[in-house]
């Protein structure tokens, strides 16, 4: 019974934590620009994150050795350090994007100065991570992120044409008017893949499994949570794309600001629709900001061999605790420079895809290593899917920056 409850809560947590700011901005805008035509990319990305999420959870359950131990042991100090710097830069940018997004949401909810609200967000996040346990953070932000399900209700309410929607799940290149439209289509495809498969997710998941004290008996539980939780989370991404196609496109609005997306539930369900949508986004973005800051601290502590983990008394892991604080502060400083948070989102997504091969390769090598994983090493399915996705993300990584430049950040 306890196990069933655990799995159920795990699924809800994975679902509520699925969407963060980058995904929200790109799915809604992909819907505005291309209707249902990029829905298939949500499926591709979701299967990808399931493959690597399952792998990193299994690694955490089998070996008490976190992934950055393995990276340093196998890649050596120099290449390992390069991976560490790239992974933490991606996490820092993502964390900054979330903090900027939260400040915008708070401004919509309460009004006030954007920078003051960003500062209050920083203080809030610092206090939450300092005072709450890992398990409490995981549950609170995952479960309250489910308020975003109001977007799924809104998508249903809008009454999508199911046949044309179904055809969007088949990978295709649609007929577009100009060559530049094709580049924009490709840019959105790459950005969607990146926003769903953000690199911090698997690092966080692997270290989180160790925080939760997983052992090999948790492997099946992990598998169910990842497959069901992430698939249901993808529903949210699909709903956001439908909202883009059916609500914003006819109004000729391309919602740049993350809060704009809440206009759809506000229009359909009134004031409470708006409040629930904004609160859902608040918890989802906050959860992602926390996960990125902790990921940065996990990575660096594991690379240099310090005591790490929220489960340790802070005075026994002082460097780890200082590290996540520094991640938050640096992320907030990026926002304080006055840079447009939407641009930070965009760069965080593009930078993430560029370094994605660097972060997923070690995971793939660790997962298949029988010295490290014993009988729990990747089977044929995880192996084939893992390498297929590795090839795919390498192609996306090579294409990302040229596409960013050619399309002027997706504007065509």
């Amino acid at each position: 019974m306890k196990n069933i409850l655990e799995v159920f809560l795990g699924i809800l947590t994975a679902m509520g934590g699925f969407v963060e700011i980058g995904e929200l901005v790109f799915t809604v805008n992909a819907g505005v620009k291309f209707g249902y035509k990029l829905l298939w990319m949500v499926v591709v990305g979701t299967v990808g994150i399931i493959v690597f999420g399952e792998m990193s959870g299994r690694i955490a359950a089998v070996s008490s050795q976190p992934v950055f131990y393995f990276i340093r042991q196998r890649a050596g100090y120099g290449a390992g350090l390069l991976t560490l710097i790239a992974a933490n830069l991606a996490s820092l940018l993502t964390c900054a994007a979330e903090i900027g997004g939260i400040a915008i949401l708070l401004k919509l909810l309460f009004g006030g100065n954007y920078f003051l609200l960003a500062f209050l967000t920083l203080v809030f996040l610092l206090l939450v991570v300092w005072f709450l346990s890992f398990q409490a953070i995981e549950r609170i932000f995952g479960l309250l992120g489910l308020l975003m399900l109001v977007f799924v209700a809104a998508a249903f309410w809008l009454g999508p044409d199911w046949t044309s929607m179904a055809s969007g799940f088949i990978p295709s290149v649609p007929q577009l008017e100009t060559t530049s439209d094709y580049f924009v289509y490709a840019y959105f495809a790459v950005a969607l893949l990146s926003s769903i498969m953000l690199p911090y997710e698997t690092y966080f998941y692997a270290s989180g499994g160790i925080e939760d004290g997983w052992n090999p008996s948790a492997i099946n539980q992990n598998r169910i949570i990842v497959i069901v939780g992430f698939s249901l989370g993808a529903l949210l991404a699909v709903a956001l794309m439908i909202i883009g196609a059916l609500y914003f496109a006819p109004l000729l609005i391309e919602p740049q600001m993350p809060g704009t997306a809440a206009m759809a539930p506000a229009f359909l369900f009134g004031k409470w629709g708006l409040i629930i949508a904004l609160l859902g986004m608040f918890f989802a973005f906050s959860g992602a900001a926390i996960e990125n800051a902790l990921t940065g601290a996990y990575n660096i502590s594991q690379f240099f061999g310090w005591n790490w983990g929220k489960y340790r008394v802070p005075k026994d892991a002082p460097r780890f605790h200082l590290a996540w604080m520094i991640m938050f502060v640096l992320a907030a400083l990026i926002i304080f420079t006055g840079v447009d948070p939407v641009e930070v989102v965009e760069y965080s997504i593009v930078f993430s895809i560029v370094i994605l091969p660097l972060t997923y390769l070690p995971m793939l090598l660790a997962g298949r290593d029988t010295d490290y994983m014993g009988p729990y090493a990747n089977g044929w399915l995880a192996g084939i899917l893992g390498w297929a996705y590795f090839v795919l993300i390498c192609i996306a990584a090579l294409a990302a920056i040229p596409l960013l430049i050619i399309t002027h950040g997706g504007k065509g």
Binding site: Q65, Q73, Y77, W306, V313, A317
Partner: protein, 117 residues
């Protein structure tokens, strides 16, 4: 423990150091070998100086400027067990590897709740 069958690169270098009280206390950044006759590990080398030595020239310079040139030697005789980690015989502070001192510790340990589980 027989040194003869130890794969230094895979089993020692870059492995996690754990003290007698299960505290993590850094990584094996390098090893010192004696090459007279049968090669033998003399000491584990820990610290940014040794780690930086493994970087290309420019990165080495930057790393030393940023993170200092700490160098510590732990005699091989202090190694008690080798599993996935390298377990040391005494507490980290006997080797100068305890992270619970210095300004980071001073700061964190003064915050409310820092001593509570």
């Amino acid at each position: 423990m027989s040194e003869h069958h130890l794969d230094i690169i895979r089993q020692v270098l870059d492995r996690q150091l754990v003290d007698a009280n299960h505290n993590h206390c850094g990584k094996v950044d390098d090893v010192e070998l004696e090459l007279k006759g049968e090669p033998k590990v003399i000491a584990l080398l820990v610290g940014n100086e040794y780690a930086s030595d493994r970087l290309p020239e420019f990165a080495r310079y930057v790393s030393r400027k940023l993170f200092g040139r700490r160098r510590l030697k732990i005699p091989w005789s202090e190694v008690s067990v080798i599993t996935d980690d390298i377990k040391l015989a005494q507490d980290a502070k006997e080797y100068g590897l305890d992270e619970r001192k210095g300004f980071v510790f001073e700061f964190i340990s003064k915050l409310p709740g820092a001593w509570k589980k």
